[in-house]
Point group: C2
Chain length 464, copies 2
């Protein structure tokens, strides 16, 4: 089918305003979040309903046109970016942003995949419920993308990743057929759990159009503290002791090394209350009131002989300012200059060994390199970024492969993973091939072959 006929058919299907073809419109939208990949699409289509998605994908299947699903375009690995061949159609989900149903008594809601995470959180809150997924890009990222990358973030310690928060999904398959399984059931053993195939598949097996999500009671109490301890070992001992004392009330446990806080003090105006070898932001949430919960935390912290320093939020504004110290880490990293970023996880018990071993190996190989390690210690997930304090940043990127290899070899020796919550996309295909069991890759690609024999769904990513 000639280009113009295909575009005309699309415009007839969706309405002319919902199909972008001009480079002036499309190219800015096809630059990935980190600016590493610039896609050049055939066009960008914005279907308004599940049915329109199915019709567009069926049209593409009929004419062997590749499809790249795009949510909020916040992938850090180029997972939603087309190649530059002008042969791939980007399907944007922003118009599929409606609430389909909410059942507070069943603690579930069903939403379209193009709803932003923030909208989903606010929607749940309006019904006195919590949708707990929370991450930096929540204002832009969409539910479909959260599912496709099995997103994690700040509350996984208590509530799990997106996989654990999804009860049902609706997917348009590469041939345009629609798989609809939006049940809001906690238990269902009627066959294989097909939604699991599509969660974390980065849009390579089908396009997710809707999901039924778990909701939780809206916590009425929070207690938040920033504490300093002498080492990551002690921080991990605290994690266990906090779980023992507070159980599921422990919602967030974020670790920041001293380098991180020093860089904040240097590049940001934010007030850093103290310096310690290891700083932890921890938060409890519960029913009841803030005072009771805060008193319990104060009492527990009071018994810690090994706390070097600490600040407990006594008001919501103090809580916000403590959180701000964690939330400005990525921007601080940017202000410092280029860095080689990693999104690794190890068993949380192995975090101290990882920091010691990887740090020593990197310092030996790249004397004077600056390591910024921070993140979700409660889940064993750290963002582990390496920069040079010297100005020659080009040198840094020449060393990127060697740096990654040191980091990932250390991670895998400790039973960890090179991708904890950001996925693989285009950026980490080579590393997935290097570290993943070939048998596992073979099985994954067998399923891809079964569902998408012509490789039309998000080609050029890791399943291709």
């Amino acid at each position: 089918m000639p280009y113009h006929t295909f575009i005309n058919t699309l415009q007839t299907l969706l309405g002319p305003t919902h199909v972008l073809t001009d480079d002036h419109d499309t190219l800015p939208l096809c630059l990935d979040w980190r600016g590493r990949y610039q896609g050049k699409p055939l066009a960008i289509a914005y279907p308004g309903t599940r049915q329109e998605v199915a019709e567009v994908i069926a049209l593409c299947a009929a004419h062997q046109v590749a499809v790249v699903p795009m949510g909020g375009n916040t992938s850090t690995c180029g997972a939603a970016t087309p190649d530059d061949s002008r042969q791939q159609l980007v399907i944007g989900l922003k118009r599929l942003n409606r609430l389909i149903a909410i059942d507070p008594d069943n603690n579930t809601m069903t939403v379209e995949a193009g709803m932003t995470l923030l909208e989903a959180q606010q929607l749940a809150a309006r019904h006195q419920r919590l949708f707990p997924l929370s991450l930096a890009s929540e204002g832009s990222c969409q539910i479909g993308g959260n599912l496709s990358t099995n997103a994690g973030g700040l509350a996984v310690l208590r509530y799990g990743t997106m996989r654990e928060l999804a009860l049902g999904i609706e997917v348009v398959l590469p041939d345009g057929q629609c798989l609809s399984a939006l049940e809001g059931l906690r238990k269902n053993t009627t066959g294989l759990d097909l939604k699991q195939w599509f969660i974390g598949a980065e849009g390579q097996l089908g396009l997710i159009t809707a999901a039924t999500l778990k909701l939780f009671p809206l916590p009425s109490a929070r207690a938040t503290a920033l504490v300093g301890v002498a080492s990551p070992e002690i921080a991990i001992q605290w994690l266990g002791a906090l779980k023992q004392r507070f159980g599921d009330r422990l919602t967030t446990y974020e670790l920041m090394t001293q380098v991180c806080m020093e860089l904040v003090a240097r590049y940001q105006t934010a007030d850093v209350p103290f310096m310690a070898p290891c700083t932890v932001l921890l938060e409890l949430s519960d029913s009841g009131d803030n005072e009771t919960l805060t008193d319990q935390l104060v009492e527990w912290l009071g018994e810690r002989q090994d706390m070097l320093d600490g600040v407990i939020a006594m008001s919501e504004s103090q809580r916000q300012s403590l959180w701000a110290l964690r939330e400005i880490m990525s921007e601080t990293q940017r202000l410092q200059g280029h860095s080689i970023k990693h999104d690794i996880a190890v068993p949380s018990s192995a975090i101290p060994s990882f920091l010691t071993q990887a740090g020593a190996r990197l310092e030996a190989a790249f004397p004077g390199c600056c390591i910024m390690a921070f993140g979700h210690a409660g889940d064993g997930n750290l963002h582990y970024n390496i920069a040079y304090t010297r100005p020659d940043n080009q040198q840094l990127f020449d060393d990127e492969h060697a740096v990654n290899q040191i980091v990932y070899d250390t991670v895998y020796a400790l039973g960890g993973t090179l991708a904890a919550e950001h996925g693989i996309g285009q950026l980490k295909i080579h590393w997935l091939e290097r570290y993943k069991d070939p048998l596992q890759l073979k099985l994954m690609r067998g399923l891809k072959q079964q569902l998408d024999p012509h490789n039309l769904m998000n080609p050029g990513k890791w399943l291709s």
Copy 2:
């Protein structure tokens, strides 16, 4: 390969005492839990290591011998029972019952698939950790079977089903290759989550030999109450209110209709403290001490205008006696005589409608039928059993198909499922075919074809 050569090869592999061939030994072991299916196997083999499992399965693949994995043989659907052709080799897992590793600081343990659920619970407890899966057959059922049926039970409300409790698994594929993914990671986005394919697959895609499981802090406090309310509607309102007040402390919420308690009073010696239209057994668990938690529950119950009657356990022995009333339900059903059993789930908000609608339709079709409904209301999962008070039980089984159809039509009209935690096995294949989306069945069978093209893994069940 002639029978004797095959058996000799097996005996050489495993040692003669680990291969049973005599009907006197094998037939009693191949009668299913409910006595509905009597398998006649080629033999029963008991490998002692993962490597031996792989060798036995490779041998079977080479000679096109079908394999039936058997754990504790507690399936209620005949999922682990071979056919009567004497052509299928049963592989028993009881010798694979070892602890591989435990990491209390990471809250994980890795065990072989033949360990009983009770052993796994006790093992975790010896390290001051909780493995929360809990169900009636826990003394016999095995971890591999729990994974293969995605087992549920009494604590799903708080901790989730077996799927949510598994971080990694090890599987021998139908061709004898071993897929080992025993990482103890909370976050991992390196490709598709292959363990999800095998959880709930009832041994039809491979044989699970080990798993890495989530552990939790061992609760130090419990508060348990048996309460009576006027209707299931009120019981479901209470469920929401309890979640709002106690959050994740609410661990168990079991509903029993008045018929259930009347049958207990009639057939059992257990003391039934009160009669009410709807009785609920609820339990909170937490850190801290029993008294504090019990006081909180007493206070909350004291504010309920709509509680008809209630008993709160003030000692462990009182707690046990309240639990006994729930645990003797199945035996009570048996004492009453034959019954047609269902393991259904609906959104918990739909439980009252389900009980009203199904009850009315059954009474209209089968006047005087006796409906015993009890179970995990917190998850929307009820065991819904129909008996006749008349002596003509043969008549009951003549009506079984019609009874099931009324129950399942009502369930599906309410967005529910015909199999919540017991699976499909052989018993419910027909009903799965009737109610499951044909596209979903096609996709499931496509994966079966990919992994097991010769249909050698647990054939004759629902994926065949």
